[in-house]
Amino acid sequence: MTKDKLNNTIINAMKNIALESGTELVTPFDNQTELLKSGLDSMGFAVLVAQLDEELGYDPFVMMEDPYYPTKYGELLDIYFKYFPES
């Protein structure tokens, strides 16, 4: 999977979760956007990570040996890209 495709998958999931919570993602939204100010509340992130696990088939936070937690969207995307299982 390309990083662009992964980016689209994550952003679409975030948009849907925000929509269901009656909110929307902040604009502008880019790699520098702070996750906790992105429009999703904290439960929204629990939903996002669980949903991406279902959709993509992996949870990078389970796979990493040394726990690392992103603060910005770009860091979250990098983590998912780094741990994407090679086919």
């Binding site: 979760i17 269901e20 919570s21 996750l35 906790l36 509340d41 904290s42 439960m43 929204g44 992130f45 629990a46 939903v47 996002l48 990570v49 669980a50 949903q51 696990d53 279902e54 949870d59 936070f61 389970v62 726990p67 937690y69 992103p70 603060t71």
Partner: protein, 189 residues
């Protein structure tokens, strides 16, 4: 940490996250400690949790594969204590009996064993809390699947928007809406 310390930390976090309308809040932290001391035996299920460097719990996700037996044991151990509290603190007996002996929705009655128990995270650790919960939720489902689970049920207070959202976004289907003040869900695996 010793087992006693783990029970204390898990119960402390659990109690902190309960809404004011939750019966466990009235009944007190000692009953929650009993809940974890039985669950940590791992005869009925398992609690997946994560702590920070100080030992404070960040997230919890409980999974049962013998929920009926767990509930039986929990009630046996706590019943005297519960009735003591009814007398001492004048907690409504009707409410307690409703909670402990209430019927479950039909879809769950015959399929009680595989259950998702308490889930939650503290907001004190920023993004780490929700990510940690998702991680423990994923571990819980894998654990249940390893126990030949092909469905799991869970319930949450109707007013708990976050937990309702978490379950429905994770493909749990609602099977009892506002049933004794709770929403009941089933996930087919």
């Amino acid at each position: 940490m010793t087992k006693k310390e783990i029970i204390f930390k898990l119960s402390e976090m659990h109690y902190k996250l309960l809404s004011k309308n939750d019966l466990s809040k009235f009944l007190g932290i000692d009953l929650i400690q009993t809940f974890y001391s039985i669950l940590l035996e791992e005869k009925y299920g398992k609690v997946f949790y994560e702590t920070n460097h100080k030992g404070d719990v960040i997230s919890i996700c409980c999974g049962f594969y013998r929920y009926k037996d767990f509930k039986k044991k929990y009630m046996r151990v706590t019943l005297v204590n519960v009735f003591f509290k009814i007398i001492t603190f004048k907690v409504s007996i009707k409410r307690i009996l409703n909670e402990l002996f209430s019927k479950l929705p039909n879809e769950i009655i015959d399929n009680q064993n595989f259950a998702l128990g308490f889930i939650g995270f503290t907001k004190d650790h920023g993004i780490r809390g929700p990510i940690s919960l998702a991680k423990n939720y994923s571990k819980t489902l894998k654990y249940l699947i390893n126990h030949d689970c092909n469905y799991v049920w869970g319930s949450t207070l109707t007013e708990n928007i976050g937990a309702n959202q978490f379950l429905s976004r994770n493909n749990f289907k609602i099977v009892g809406e506002n049933f004794n003040g709770k929403n009941y869900y089933i996930l087919k695996l």
